[in-house]
Symmetry: C2
Subunit: 146 residues, 2 copies
DNA sequence: CAGAATCCCCATTGATACTG
DNA sequence: CAGTATCAATGGGGATTCTG
């Protein structure tokens, strides 16, 4: 069972470690409460979290500043996304008792720490974007014949 | 407009480049066909793609081998996930004309290339998992008072 | 074995209205 | 300004059935 690594030469170095840890998660049945992929990456993979994280990467922003930065997010989803980030310890919320109230959101050290791996993935996405688009066009062109 | 970077000392190096590119995407209104984050990461962020990619990281696998590797994926979703990976040029599909037929899936160079940034994010998730869980418990404990 | 096709559900999201 | 509450809709995903 688990992932059998029969191949002598792994695809890339990261593949070996990924595969090894995959076996561990697999034994838990990918229990969402214990598998980091499910538990953490599912959240980063939702519609808004990544965009809000990047928006806050530059500097702390207030609620409506974030809304203007991510134009098509609704107040409802922004509130929810920020609560999730706050709950996960990725962002902190500071209320200034002005009137009307102003609330500033700021990445915590934990939130800042995710920017680096996130940036790697964004780099990859940008660098490979053209290649992916070409693959899609090629695939769709032969869609009828397959 | 866009993301105003007034801070002199960026949070981390990656934050600066992320913020800069964020402005570019923002000007397109995050058009899904042009914004790499929306277009590429939304796919990586779905329920199964990452798990299937990691499953294939070790070695090429046949359809039902992947199913056994990712226990709770349905045939429907596995087919769909594999088609997406194939369409994006991340995996290739090889049909062996045996009876019954066997079909092998294998990561392409493009698919292999994503393992590295993906691994960075998985590393982060594992290393910070305990910290995130503590934050969640602390947050939930004060949920009633806030 | 490796799918394709169909039906259906519910979780995520959006839109709207209301509030301290 | 920064939310909350409620309702409605969309589509991702599961279960099942059928097939080369």
């Amino acid at each position: 069972m688990a992932v059998q690594v029969t191949r002598k030469e792994p695809l890339v170095t990261s593949a070996t470690t990924l595969t090894a840890r995959f076996s561990d998660w697999q034994e838990t049945g990918f229990d969402a409460t214990r598998c980091p992929i499910r538990n953490v990456l599912d959240r980063l993979g939702d519609r808004w979290t990544t965009l809000v994280l990047i928006a806050l990467a530059g500097r702390p922003l207030r609620f409506n500043e974030i809304r203007r930065t991510v134009p098509d997010i609704s107040k409802r989803m922004l509130t929810q996304t920020l609560r999730h980030l706050e709950r996960d310890g990725m962002a902190t919320r500071h209320v200034f008792p002005t009137k009307p109230p102003s609330v500033e959101y700021r990445l915590s050290p934990l939130g800042i720490s995710v920017l680096d791996p996130l940036s790697s993935l964004v780099d990859w996405a940008e660098n490979r974007f053209a290649e992916i688009n070409r693959a899609r066009i090629a695939f769709d062109a032969t869609a009828g014949t397959r």
